[in-house]
Amino acid sequence: MKTNLILTYLLLAPFIGSILTLFFKGTNEKAIKWFGLIVSLITFAISLIAYSQFNQKSGEFQLINQFVWIKSLNVTYTVGIDGISLLLILLTTFLTPLTLFSTWKSIKMNVKMFTFSMLFLETGMLGVFASLDLFLFYIFWEAMLIPMYFIIGVWGGEQRIYASVKFFIYTMFGSLLMLVAIIWLASNASSQLGYFTTNFIELSKISPNIVQNVQALLFFAFFISFAIKVPLFPLHTWLPDAHVQAPTAGSVILAGVLLKMGTYGILRFCLTLFPQSSVRFAPFISVLAVIGIIYGALVAMVQTDMKKLVAYSSVSHLGFVVLGLFAMTTQSVQGSVIQMINHGLSTGALFLLVGFIYERTHKRDIAYYGGIAKLVPLYSIALLFASLSSVGLPGLNGFIGEFLILLGSFKSQVLNSWWYTIFAASGVIFAAVYLLWMYERVVFGPVKNQSLNGLKDLTSSEILILVPIFIFIVWIGVYPTTFFDMTSASVEKILSHISQFHNLIY
């Protein structure tokens, strides 16, 4: 096999960058900011090179780089991507520079450590999407917890300690279950293949043969870990706290990328390693997903804090993604993949916008605002645009994802009932209610608070951050083919893999 180092460069760039940040003098904030931004832009450029080298026709893992790492355990360093991981990698490298840039004004304390954390976090996230060895995956998965813990705990709001500990314990609990399962799989490999291995591609060939009841346990060990990260109802309560307390950049990365690791994990590991169990528990999990869609939307509706509202809306949106994955049809899984990206863009934009106005007024209560359309017209348009994308207006990105998920799950053979879709589709009504209601109370009406007078509209650097996101929101809405070309072969491959073990019409 020809070795391709591009993914290794991709991982090294932010990692080396983060280490180098530590050598800057802490007071030299401007240089640190520029350095962080440039490193993240270089990473983005490398990811684009990876995109250009990627063969979209094939659903196989590509750009693989592999060498033995821990010889005694036969643990390898294996990185490689298919279309789905590629798309998520691009999302990560795209959002990181934008968020870094967005913090230039808002992060005033310890810029050096913050930049270090962000770049370190990026390494972890990219590693999660690129790893093809479970051991390596687990290390990245855990490694990215630590900077996130600090980002919330150090640069967060008033209750940041409670929120960060809750975040840490929740996710740690899940990770430990997964670790046990990984070890089990590896030792099982030694009895099946004669050698201990954590290589994903090899494991995916033998793990479907595991006795069903044992497979079910392993499935849940992985699944719970991912479901916490998604977060799937009822494992979601860390999310609102983490989001509200996190600084804007933290929220954007959290919503934009971290949550996707959960859904990515389900798609990559649960569905592929344990196809029978995935099919077996699909109805049960889909029920939770549908509850999450409605529950998240209803609770979002009655929030008084803008950020918390957006946080709960994530519970609702990610419910769609999980439903689509377990419906196991071409349309629904494709929809879920694109919806991961959509959520990153739309919710990312919403968090940025809430952050922008918070920086000006230090208020997030919906009741404080009212009538800002007159004062900050550009901001109001941007907020409307992001809201509409989140609501799933056709022509923008959100529609593509939701529509495909619902269309696919409606005819899903695995779920085999209309009711999932009927309840899930009611989420489109509630989404309109909570977002437009918030919009109405914040933006419309007469100016409510005299202290709002003099509110500044979007600055040019804020526009610079939003415009790239908005471009992709329209791009995906109007011409999603660019993105489906990347992922369709990979989705097809996963579904045909499942159909080898379970008679599946997709």
């Binding site: 209803l298 009655v302 056709p394 269309l407 437009l436 209601w437 083919t481």
Partner: protein
Amino acid sequence: MVNYIYLTVLFPLAGFLINGIFGNRIKNEKIIGIIGSGAVGLSFLVSLFSFFQLLGMPAEERSVIVNLFSWLNIGALHINFGYLVDPLSIVMSLIVTGVGFLIHVYAIGYMHGDKGFFRFFAYLNLFIFAMMNLILGDNFVVLFLGWEGVGLCSYLLIGFWYDRKFEKGTVSQAAKKAFVVNRIGDFGFLLGMFLIFMTFDSLNFQDVFAKAASFPVSETTFSFIALFLFIGATGKSAQIPLFVWLPDAMAGPTPVSALIHAATMVTAGVYMVSRTAIIFASAPVIMTVVAVVGLLTAFFAASMGLVQNDIKKVLAYSTVSQLGYMFLAAGVGAFSASIFHVMTHAFFKALLFLGAGSVIHSMHEEQNIQHYGNLKKYMPRTYITFLLAALAISGFPGFSGFFSKDEILWNAFAKGNFVFWLIGALTAVMTAFYMFRLVSLTFFGKERFGHEHHPHESPAVMTVPLMILGVLSVIGGYIGIPAIFSGENGNKFEEFLKPVYENAERKMVTYGTHTHFEEILLMALSVAFALTAIYFAYVIYTRRQEIAEKTSAKFKGLYTVLFNKYYIDEIYEASVVKPIQTVSEKFLWKIADNKIIDGVVNGTGILIEKSSNVIRKLQTGIAQFYAVVMMVGIAVVLFWIILSL
């Protein structure tokens, strides 16, 4: 020109982008207005040329698909940005761009001096863009893109004066209500699409309709599809039970009410039912539902219109009622009659709203008809054109509304039954009555406004569109003269649309024939009813107002119920909106999330803390102890591995 039909979509899009992005800097109202209306005017010309080109083709070839690019291509799903030009879509696009153009021009005068002038025209063009997608889309998804798009524009335009009060609430609440209620309908439409895709493996009109005509699909499936689609139609076209948003939509500027909430957008549901005629025709039970819902909506909305005092409110209920007629027609299988009424209604209802706008404009935003009177003296052009429109909607013989309404009533009888006709005719009586109550209170009788008002005729930019629509309201019906009058020429309009409904017609049961005598008799009856109603309304509200007062005093209960729109809003609020809000806040959020789930999580945390206090005692700090534990541990693991070998 047919092959360039996408220009009708692109011109308004360009207008939206230009005015939306640069309007703030252009500042000149004239330029903005010309860009806005010019874009729609160009679209109209393209539609017109396409129409003539279509006419020149043999009837069976009048169906052209123009594909732009592939939109969604996943598995069996192939959706293009594609437009379908056929008699139905071309008729609709002529109506939308034609009436739309006149309303754009009118708005230049009406919105003069408004701070949001450029924003207004940008939104209007965006609306036309969305509406054209809705009409021309050659598949359900593009139709849905337009469907949601017009909903968005409706939201933006109802909420255009977002800082104003409206009745008990605010303008923006009215806007949100419109969007949300529409979304409830869209939910049904989505499910309809999903079931269509599941059944026919396609969402393209041609595939689906061809398969619907030939595939052995059960009537139950067809019924579900038709029902889901019809739920969508009730939202967009303001039918029972989702009509509540339309009266509140009057919070928007009057040209918006004319364009979106009377002439075009609200007829989208009728268009959709007509487009999917083959599916409805295959579901007779749902056809009856459509007819009955339409009939009841027509009747109840008209009854509410009888007592309203806000000029726009009367017209709003009238719109709901007329839309009901269109569904009645579709429900009995007279699809082309429903589209015919869409067209004539677009003429006279747009005219009524624009006329009302002209009145409101000159009366400085006063909308209560009890505070008008004798305005014919001050605004002769508005008066004459308004009168023509009122005669048209009342079914005055020879006017456009007469032909379309008569065709609906006749079909209600011929393809439905006598009760349908009777309720329809009673509705027509109420229509004539409330319209002439409105005309009399506004233009005739004594002046009931204070001296601070100086009513005046509107400028030509507003009255010329009124006059054009006036002419259309009068003569617009002649292209659809029923066969009994036009002899062997037949009904031209129906003839033109016929190919669209061919398959649907074949599916429907043919009824026994009726005689010409019956047709003439029923027509004469409904005309007599309407004329009587016009006469009484005129007499009562110009000379004998005490009759009206006495009657309303006598039937106080009924009057209050009608005036408060049967308390439907209050019922929805108490039975749906409040419970959902309360449960979400008080239970889901504050108890389920914060107490139960978090309680378990925090409880686990406390438990771990407690137990680790115990475990801590094991951490003795003596290295030997650790070594022993480690050894034991390794032994256990080894033992386990040996066992599993």
